[in-house]
């Protein structure tokens, strides 16, 4: 019975993470359209209707899905059939699994069980997410290579080069956070952000590691290959590694974009925005710096935390979209220069600075 419950709990944790990512990604298609439209003084997609009901264009993602499912699933004659089929799955897969070790709440205590609100507990969680992100590049390269199309190949190569340069910066910038909070476990890092600096500032990563935050967000956008770093695909004119894809396979590439956006948002939240932390909310309830306290029941606290996580992720996604619809595209060499000559040295500098600070302030050294 309890084994069954264990299995159920594990299943529930994984399902929550999965469904969270998948649904957010699905809704992001609509959000992206609407947000960009409103930003640009437009209305946005609103034509799809069922019996005349349009519901703010919410049927468009459904229509898209139907369209993609029913479209001709085209494959170039000289394509590498197996890799061509595999590539979109690889692409989406690593995006999805990367979310697994991101904690969306503190430990939930129900019926004497301690349930960490995280799909998978890993003591090297940060490295795990990082590893999965770095494997995402294979989907892109496989797609580019197997299409037997020079545009696709070039797109794949550009994507690979871009992602490598971005991931180096991501990895190095994370190191600062890891040093500060002294753990590779994401749950530990989030917990560490619950502490207060000078007694009243939440010790979020954005406060302790501002430089790392900027580097991470920039490199994170680059890792998702979205504007302003969309030289591998450049949907408006370049057309990249997925040029030969159609139907649902193409849809999966589209989705992997959104999934990666969600993952980056989740990771940013966990590393820099305090994860599921609500300022001054501790396990027993609110404990404000001026001494006031508001005790809350455990379940409410957990709900508040999960809610805070979702709000933070949403806000981060909103920000990423804002950037995507605001900035023009970098040229390939500019992006490379930014990655290798800008972000990478800066993140190394950040590690050194963090080390110095920790040494001098005696933080954890």
């Amino acid at each position: 019975m309890s084994a069954l419950a264990d299995v159920g709990i594990v299943f529930g944790r994984v399902a929550f993470a999965m469904l969270f990512v998948v649904n957010v990604a699905a809704i992001l298609g609509w959000v992206e359209r609407k947000q960009s439209a409103i930003m640009q003084d437009r209305i946005g997609a609103n034509r799809a209707s069922i019996f005349g009901f349009r519901v703010l264009g919410l049927f468009h993602p459904i229509a898209d899905a139907i369209k993609m499912l029913t479209k001709e699933d085209f494959m170039p004659a000289r394509a590498d059939r197996f890799l061509f089929q595999l590539a979109p799955f690889v692409s989406v897969f690593f995006g999805l699994v990367a979310f697994a070790s991101i904690p969306f709440g503190d430990t939930l205590r129900v019926a004497g069980r301690e349930i960490p609100l995280q799909a998978v507990t890993l003591n090297v969680g940060v490295l795990y997410v990082f590893a999965m992100l770095s494997l995402g590049v294979y989907g892109v390269m496989m797609a580019g290579w197997s299409s037997a199309n020079n545009y696709a190949l070039l797109g794949g190569q550009r994507a690979a080069a871009l992602m490598i340069s971005a991931e180096i910066a991501i990895g190095a910038s994370i190191m600062g956070v890891v040093m500060w909070y002294g753990s590779l476990d994401l749950m530990d890092i989030v917990r560490g952000q619950g502490a207060l600096l000078f007694g009243w500032i939440p010790k979020w990563g954005i406060v302790t590691q501002p430089l790392a935050f900027v580097i991470f967000v920039t490199a994170g956008i680059a890792a998702t290959k979205r504007i302003p770093f969309d030289m591998p695909e450049g949907e408006s004119e370049i057309i990249g590694y997925f040029i030969e894809y159609s139907g649902m396979k193409f849809g999966m590439f589209l989705m992997s974009d959104l999934v990666e956006t969600t993952v980056i948002a989740g990771l940013t939240t966990s590393l820099f925005l305090g994860g599921w932390q609500v300022p001054y909310l501790v396990a027993e309830g609110f404990l404000f710096p001026w001494g006031a306290a508001l005790p809350l029941p455990h379940l409410l606290v957990v709900l508040l935390q999960v809610g805070a996580f979702i709000v933070k992720v949403s806000a981060m996604i909103f920000f990423l979209m804002l950037v995507r619809w605001t900035l023009p595209r970098f040229r390939y060499d500019q992006a490379m220069r930014l990655g290798w000559l800008g972000l990478f040295p800066l993140s190394i500098l950040n590690i050194v600075l963090t080390g110095l600070v920790l040494l001098l302030w005696g933080g954890r050294a």
Binding site: I38, M39, Q40, D41, I43, L322, T326, L327
Partner: protein
């Protein structure tokens, strides 16, 4: 200022702030409007298929072949357009014209609109003013690749756009255009 610009970040943030301002202004307009506040409105664009902006007379739209007075094409099958076409979407086969004063005429003149990039070079290259892109027709989607191929007869039947830029002639239903 220059040094700061080189760091992108400030510039990026000011750009993001601008677009965010638009977003929130429009969003609040939309929300207030839907809550019944009549005066408030978010920005609204032209609702395309129903509302149309008049086309510029310089607009390059679907091609047509100009007729002589007797209804035959003015085209003399000189292949200038076929040669200049960067998309290789024009297919001409020339044949002898019964009148020796007119060197030749097209036996076949197909344009594969599916390949066309609407650069207008064919119009520029034509020495006879026999091909124009002034039909005002922009919507010519088809369910098949072959449906995108317009034959000589189809191109000859098209009329130039009216003074408002609206198409004067309708294109045949794609299924009827099987060459």
């Amino acid at each position: 200022m220059r040094v700061l610009q080189r760091f992108y970040l400030i510039e990026v943030m000011s750009g993001v702030a601008l677009t965010a301002a638009h977003f929130f202004r429009n969003m609040s307009g939309h929300v207030r409007h839907s809550l019944g506040q009549k005066g408030a409105r978010g920005a609204v664009t032209i609702q395309y298929p129903e509302e149309r902006r008049p086309y510029s007379p310089r607009l390059r739209s679907l091609h047509r072949l100009v007729q002589r007075e007797d209804g035959s094409p003015r085209c003399v099958a000189c292949m200038m357009c076929e040669t200049v076409c960067p998309a290789h979407c024009i297919y001409i086969v020339a044949t002898e014209h019964p009148n020796p004063e007119i060197e030749k005429m097209p036996a076949r003149f197909d344009i594969d609109v599916g390949k066309c990039v609407f650069c207008g070079y064919c119009v520029e290259a034509c020495p006879e003013d026999a091909i124009r892109m002034d039909t005002g027709i922009l919507e010519f989607a088809s369910y098949s690749r072959r449906g995108m191929v317009y034959t000589k007869e189809a191109l000859l039947a098209l009329q130039p756009a009216g003074p408002d830029g609206r198409p004067q002639s309708t294109i045949p239903i794609p299924a009827d255009r099987e060459p």
